[in-house]
């Protein structure tokens, strides 16, 4: 899906002119310094490295970003649009835009907590983590990023993440791709991983951000997903709570950051 040509790196900068506009007003025109041809990724004060997945796509254009007042909230958003979409003026409601644009549009929101420290550390080319080669990760991107699943017309079961066979009946020939809802999941179970209990892939995250929580959520169609919790510094989420999911940075492996969805409170 994406060429593998090395580690993430900054490829461009967007410079902010003047004071920050109100969050609701943030959009391309406010951020691009009048230069709509500036492409790729940027931040307010320094370049944010572009995830490799986007870097090598000439049709990727960053059209906006936002800052969340929550210290663990998203600070940057990259939306892939084509050159023809350069005028897209997006700040909020990005998930809707994604849905409207279909599966070719990717959205990234990076965790802000400890981001600078995370970015200043070298991304190890060798990891003590469970080894998932880039090809396996890439294969999982449709489910990881866009929450795509398979519905089986033989038994009506919905299988997530996507795999070779229906989890209801084991057949493979009657699967069609559907998108799971990104909003409205319910927390079935919730744990907090004590410091030092994380898989080694998350050592850097814990050093930078602190202990994290993980939830199992009911999505729809009998599908459940186990995902990390983000953007809830007050730890207000509880079992039974309603959540949505956003795309975030997960952990580094083989010189790249891996991305996937995380749970955030429905109403921040």
């Amino acid at each position: 899906m994406f060429p593998s040509d090395g580690i993430e790196r900054p490829v461009g900068e967007l410079r902010l002119v003047g004071p920050l506009p109100p969050v609701a007003d943030w959009g391309l025109s406010a951020l691009l310094d009048g230069n709509p041809t500036v492409s790729r990724f940027a931040s307010i004060e320094q370049a944010i490295p572009v995830p490799r997945e986007l870097d090598s796509r000439p049709d990727v254009l960053v059209v906006g970003f936002r800052v969340c007042p929550d210290p663990l909230g998203p600070i940057a958003v990259a939306v892939r649009g084509g050159p023809g979409n350069a005028g897209a003026d997006l700040v909020d409601g990005l998930e809707d835009v994604l849905a409207a644009k279909g599966p070719d549009v990717a959205l990234l929101e990076l965790d802000s907590g400890g981001r600078d420290r995370l970015d200043s550390q070298r991304v190890d080319s060798v990891s003590e983590g469970a080894y998932i080669p880039h090809a396996r990760y890439e294969e999982s991107v449709p489910s990881r990023w866009r929450f795509l699943a398979q519905r089986c017309s033989a038994c009506a079961a919905v299988t997530f993440p996507m795999r070779a066979v229906c989890r209801g009946c084991g057949r493979s020939e009657r699967l069609t791709t559907i998108a799971l809802p990104r909003e409205g999941g319910t927390i079935v179970a919730l744990t907090e991983i004590g410091r030092g209990g994380q898989p080694t892939e998350f050592d850097r995250y814990v050093d930078a951000v602190g202990p994290y929580r993980v939830g199992l959520i009911d999505l729809a169609y009998g599908v459940r997903a186990t995902l990390m919790v983000s953007d809830d510094p007050g730890r207000k989420l509880r079992i039974g709570g309603t959540v949505r999911t956003v795309l975030r940075r997960l952990y580094p492996m083989e010189g790249e950051w891996r991305y996937g969805r995380k749970i955030v409170p429905m109403d921040p």
Binding site: E128, R167, T191, I193, G197, Q198, P199, F202, T226
Partner: protein, 388 residues
């Protein structure tokens, strides 16, 4: 099955804990003790096959580990197979051994479980503690085993009042049992206060809800049923076995607080023996985390959903209670050298049913059950034993 059921005629178990010995030496120690334990002696030439249960923790001899068993047991030339189903490797190796003697190709089969865990550096250890869950999805959400069991415990505690109290009661009970077991990793009783102040590992699980990282090995000699009495007057018969699988990731299961693999294994084992749960007088269950003991009691049919809480809080599962559970201290206190655990459970039952368990002896037990789980429930075995 009949009186001809395959039988354990000898058993060995190293001490569990942070040991100086490496995996090869541990295998050798357990095998020597097992052979020495055969009442009328055993010539190694009757051993026709061997099974070695190990995860290969730390990367030790992932390929052909079974050859180490052949060397250490003096069995070079005999077929040996490594069996790997994470923490249930031992139970599945025992199952392979029983099937091997039932086939009639061997008179006696040796089954050994081993794990060497404490000599890996911390990062490597945490890597290996997470390799048997769903590495692509659960792990990428930041979970190792403790985290998955923490999720399960969070749901169980939300569903059942006093569940957190029962988790602590499991830890206190199993530590009290382990204190009487000279081979246990922890031989120290703990109190409610110790638990409350322990650090969180995966909320609601705290330090004392989790089994330790241990070294150790265990060995069993399984004989064909009709010749068991050549070796001993008191064999321990295997009356029923069940084994099953489940999805790797818990997100694929309809109910988080049930292990389908345990339920299916129990049904098969009880059907094979023609027994009901009421006939069991002693249990060795897979308590890698305290929550796992509560789930086991329910999945094995000893309590309804949530019923493990009152069963545990009433003291029924204490060593001196109505239904003793984990009299050797369980994984929680005896330790959990991954590949060795399922074999070591049978070692404990071998001694309990022969009245040779010393100060932790459960008086008069004639029928027992062992329950071994792989990871967070992706595989399980249940084995039923009887004095023979």
């Amino acid at each position: 099955m009949t009186a001809e059921s395959a039988a354990i005629i000898g058993a060995g178990n190293t001490k569990f804990g942070a040991l100086p010995e490496g995996p090869r030496a541990l295998v050798g120690l357990a095998v020597r003790e097992a052979i020495a334990s055969v009442d009328r002696g055993l010539d190694r030439s009757v051993i026709g096959e061997g099974f070695l249960a190990t995860l290969g923790f730390g990367g030790w001899q992932i390929g052909n580990a079974s050859a180490v068993l052949a060397e250490q047991a003096g069995l070079v030339g005999v077929p040996v197979t490594r069996v790997e189903n994470a923490c249930a490797s031992g139970g599945f190796a025992l199952r392979s051994a029983v099937r091997s003697v039932e086939e009639g190709t061997s008179d006696v089969v040796l089954v050994v479980g081993v794990e060497k865990m404490t000599d890996s550096p911390s990062a490597r250890r945490r890597y290996w503690l997470g390799v048997s869950g769903d590495t692509e999805w659960e792990r990428s959400a930041g979970l190792t085993f403790a985290g998955v069991y923490g999720l399960i415990a969070s749901r169980y505690c939300a569903d059942h009042p006093r569940a957190r109290e029962a988790l602590s009661a499991v830890a206190i009970k199993n530590h009290a049992n382990g204190a009487l077991n000279p081979k246990a990793h922890f031989r120290k009783a703990i109190r409610t206060e110790d638990l409350a102040h322990a650090p969180t590992i995966a909320d609601p699980l705290r330090l004392y809800d989790c089994c330790p990282v241990s070294d150790g090995a265990a060995a069993l000699l399984i004989a064909r049923g009709d010749i068991a009495h050549r070796f001993t007057d008191t064999p321990v018969r295997i009356r029923g076995m069940g084994a099953a699988s489940d999805t790797l990731a818990v997100q694929d299961r309809p109910v988080l607080t049930e292990f389908g693999a345990t339920r299916r294994s129990a049904r098969s084992a009880f059907d094979a023996a023609g027994w009901t749960a009421q006939r069991i007088q002693l249990l060795e269950v897979h308590d890698c985390f305290t929550i796992a003991e509560l789930l086991a009691l329910e999945d094995l049919g000893f309590a309804p959903a949530g019923g493990a809480v009152p069963l545990t809080l009433s003291g029924d599962t204490a060593r001196t209670g109505r239904l003793p559970v984990n009299p050797d201290g369980g994984l929680k206190s005896k330790g959990h050298p991954i590949g060795a655990t399922g074999v070591s459970q049978a070692y404990e039952i071998f001694h309990q049913l022969r009245d040779s368990a010393g100060p932790r002896q459960v008086p008069g037990a004639e029928r027992a059950l062992s329950h071994n789980v792989g990871g967070s429930g992706a595989s399980a075995t249940v084995t039923l034993f009887e004095r023979g």
